[in-house]
Subunit: 339 residues, 4 copies
Amino acid sequence: MIKIGIIGSTGYAGHELVKRLVGHPEVEIIFLSSNSYENQGFSEVYPALKGVVDNVLIHSEKAIDKFDEIDVLFTALPHGLSFNYVRQAYEAGIKVIDLGADFRLNDKEIFEHWYKTKHLCENLLDSAVYGLPELWKDKIQSSQIVANPGCYTTASILALAPALKFGLVDPYSIVIDAKSGITGGGRKTDLSLMFAECNESVKAYGIASHRHTPEIEQELSKAYGERINVTFTPHLIPMQRGILATCYGTLPAFSTEEEIYSIYRAFYKNAPFVRIRQEYLETRFVKDTNFCDISIRIDIRTKRLIVTSSLDNLVKGAAGQAIQNMNILFGFDEKEGLM
Amino acid sequence: MIKIGIIGSTGYAGHELVKRLVGHPEVEIIFLSSNSYENQGFSEVYPALKGVVDNVLIHSEKAIDKFDEIDVLFTALPHGLSFNYVRQAYEAGIKVIDLGADFRLNDKEIFEHWYKTKHLCENLLDSAVYGLPELWKDKIQSSQIVANPGCYTTASILALAPALKFGLVDPYSIVIDAKSGITGGGRKTDLSLMFAECNESVKAYGIASHRHTPEIEQELSKAYGERINVTFTPHLIPMQRGILATCYGTLPAFSTEEEIYSIYRAFYKNAPFVRIRQEYLETRFVKDTNFCDISIRIDIRTKRLIVTSSLDNLVKGAAGQAIQNMNILFGFDEKEGLM
Amino acid sequence: MIKIGIIGSTGYAGHELVKRLVGHPEVEIIFLSSNSYENQGFSEVYPALKGVVDNVLIHSEKAIDKFDEIDVLFTALPHGLSFNYVRQAYEAGIKVIDLGADFRLNDKEIFEHWYKTKHLCENLLDSAVYGLPELWKDKIQSSQIVANPGCYTTASILALAPALKFGLVDPYSIVIDAKSGITGGGRKTDLSLMFAECNESVKAYGIASHRHTPEIEQELSKAYGERINVTFTPHLIPMQRGILATCYGTLPAFSTEEEIYSIYRAFYKNAPFVRIRQEYLETRFVKDTNFCDISIRIDIRTKRLIVTSSLDNLVKGAAGQAIQNMNILFGFDEKEGLM
Amino acid sequence: MIKIGIIGSTGYAGHELVKRLVGHPEVEIIFLSSNSYENQGFSEVYPALKGVVDNVLIHSEKAIDKFDEIDVLFTALPHGLSFNYVRQAYEAGIKVIDLGADFRLNDKEIFEHWYKTKHLCENLLDSAVYGLPELWKDKIQSSQIVANPGCYTTASILALAPALKFGLVDPYSIVIDAKSGITGGGRKTDLSLMFAECNESVKAYGIASHRHTPEIEQELSKAYGERINVTFTPHLIPMQRGILATCYGTLPAFSTEEEIYSIYRAFYKNAPFVRIRQEYLETRFVKDTNFCDISIRIDIRTKRLIVTSSLDNLVKGAAGQAIQNMNILFGFDEKEGLM
């Protein structure tokens, strides 16, 4: 039984974390913080959880005072806001899982370039591991700071890492076309996220400029062995949750779908949350689960590999993956609380 | 004032055609046919049109008997079912606009390969024009058979034709990732198209195998000047209507967005239904209209051109385009009945 | 040809008004005002209308300066904000159609009680007519101020006025259970109207307290001949637009559905936008139209009349009805620009 | 640990049952039957459960052969199809929970009148209990056949039973206006349930004739003590799941909301799945849960009580309630597997 606290518990990722941790057999929740809803009950903010999670929300400053009562801190804040909490937790010897972007990029310059924000914890970057368990489980086990990956990035990296590692695609030909549900936009009042404005419509955005791009490139470059760039285009889909990433790359040599399937199956043979599938993917197959589904096709006429991947942006793309990381950090079954 | 008949008037494209032609100042409807709903009123099938279009539906065999009363026949049938009607209309000297796929591919072999169906009117293929007015307005004016393009294809071709014609992209690098609303699946009872099965989900399908591929290739090859192949991936989005095509191609030389915008603007300067736009596209901007919107971005880091296009699959992707073709065929203002 | 101006043109009702008036053959738009988007193009706010309505938006103070150029002013503002514009237009001898609530209630006290707002134009209340053409066409013709009814109220009143006028229901037994699409909430950034918060859910709100209640009661009391109260419950439905009102009342005497249908048909025989229908109603049948559909059932086991009505909240429930009123005011065909 | 079998496991209720029973700590699944998908894997029908529930589906005739291996049988079939299975299970001494309608109505005549189907197990009606645990937990404990209530009925009865039992409403004034998600229509290919036909629309149906009416009346009559009839109107809402019932009744005497809240709270004090709430209800608050939320308002101007209730039609309205009944039948914690 471990004791946990969450800073930023009332965003969509925070909510998903709370909902799942409350049923985790190895977890006791010590505090839930929210500066917007301080002193309100969690179930006043999320009425669905009335009678299930009625904890009173505390201010993040008071949360810091309780760091000595917890074993692990989750931070689920917009980028640029986690530095102080992570440092204080780190110095107090507590493990931290940061669902935000502040520790995902190993290179401070790249962070500052894409996020237009000064990085305030450069000295901690070496202590942070990129928390994608399918690639870095060993490192996660022995880390104190886990940078939980983004939603688009998890889908994109899991789809392409094997192909790049085993030379199945030309590394300079990668195009990732991703589709996300609206919760990906976060819990904020923004005209463009209103039902009347985004229902019954699909849109492209952040073309050639989305902040998940350097994160995808960092990890795919590691898989390939050299620095590469990719084209990444996100789209918003009128549904609550789910991501489908359609990933394209040129085949440098003749391959069959069977060969590529074999390589992918071998690559993910110890990954309980990756399902390699024959059929076309639909995001509803992974809704409310921690699975990332992957399906493979070859376009023989154009010599192109097309890998689709799908996951739930709030689960495998955020809270579920954070819990998976917590399970790894503390030696629990990787699937505990996630099936 | 011209007289028209529609065979296959109760599918979604047929319905859209009826709804728009009934308000067209130059058109009188002589018959609406539907074999499934013979002898019922059109507004029994589409109750929204009660009091507006109450015509009784006739069987297509009876429709043929009325060919001598009309100036133009619209056929809106699944592929492989238009041959007989088109030939009879052709022989009767009537103009035909076929919203199906039977006359879109100039090459009988390619048709038979992709549609697994024998082409029964090979001798008429030369008399048919590919009815994309932005490319072939002159030819359409003097044709008797107009093969109205598919929805995905209209979006894809309009997005890429200028780039290929003017050498802006490597022709072997084209990837088209398209997203369509559910009406694209047609009006049929199919488990996968049920609300409870496709709502709140996005899916890829027809990867490297969708029948709109050869149609896109045919027209883009003409634009480029040589035979090319493209990778085309369609997706289904939980919304009624709309298509967004995100099109990728490698830039062979350094170009700026401004240069490319200029070329596109010039290319479409006489096309009243193409809007070249700076902002990101949303399908709701073209909903219920005959516009095709196009927006351009360069990914400078990967030297890739990204052209997005969007249209309403039932209007510019079907019925609206058919009316635009009719306007051209009969010398009306191209926009009549479409604004 | 008349000249019109719109104050508050960028809300959902204003937008719908603009979209429809731009195609009205008897109308020339002189100004569109919006204080939030002053100096921007209308099509920057509503990109769908690029190339169609690109008028530059002016501040409402500047709009007042142009009152001498117009024949009729439309005001489409939240309640409490129209008083000044209506008075100035009235004094300038211009006709006014107010889509807001400020002139709908004949009784200043009732307005102030329900809207918690001081009525600033009490002396104009007698000059204003309740703009429901199916009931008050004669009065509208000779009025200078038309108070365009609310969306829920139009559906409710049209459903029940004949029943109350002809004694078909016990006037003290009326229950109206109404369901509205999300645009009914207006174009404002409110957490409860965000896609992620209201999609895939239905909710009741404003129970026994919604501001459309006194408006319904005012008109149904006139129909019945005595002051009556009704129970009105609105609900929000995850769809863009549409209202379905399910109205219940006890039958004081034995009646058949046929008898009641006859009475309704006779009552609405000159109402081109009311369709009395046998089948169950669906809001999609009236989407984007100015129709109000009505269907009648008797629950013989409980001696209750159940009248359902449906309309598009932005058309017959707002902008379409306003245009219908304009047509009546100026002697145009009532349906002009609305079919 | 008990052993269970399910006949009709691939409908939406069956699927929900499987998904929840597979995680129930006291349950082992012996067989899943489906005549439509015999010999296919459950996860081929529901790909979301790949790797989670891959059991091969057997024909119901083979299921009967396995009755001696199970402790309880769930039947989840359309009405009229459970008789044979229930009788055989009953005779074999196995407990049965029937999610269909065949044993819900105590009176064979009423069943046959509303369902137009002969009742084939009249002699078992006395052995069946109406499985609404909030009303009949004691009887359920000692029954062999549990008739699991319908979805609309659970919402309606829980909303009104206390009011009728304690004389808070005139029993002849009851109107129930209910709104359901599309899964309520079942997993069948029906044109009216296609996405393109029911999205973005709300409709009324089954007015004064829906088959859940006699079931509601049976239970509310028991609560009141005398035979009563109610007006019940169902509506279809464009969302996957959820029911909101808005229930109206005239107050015979002056009451305050506080008094009525007290009575409801006392009535449900031992009901872990009923939440009495102050705020307005939204179906998303109960989505994927076994809760039924209830909220109370008085319309003081019309002396009417308005009780809203909401639940997930596939959980508390079907599979969750069936598991709650199973827990009661076998002496497990009523909430086991349901939180």
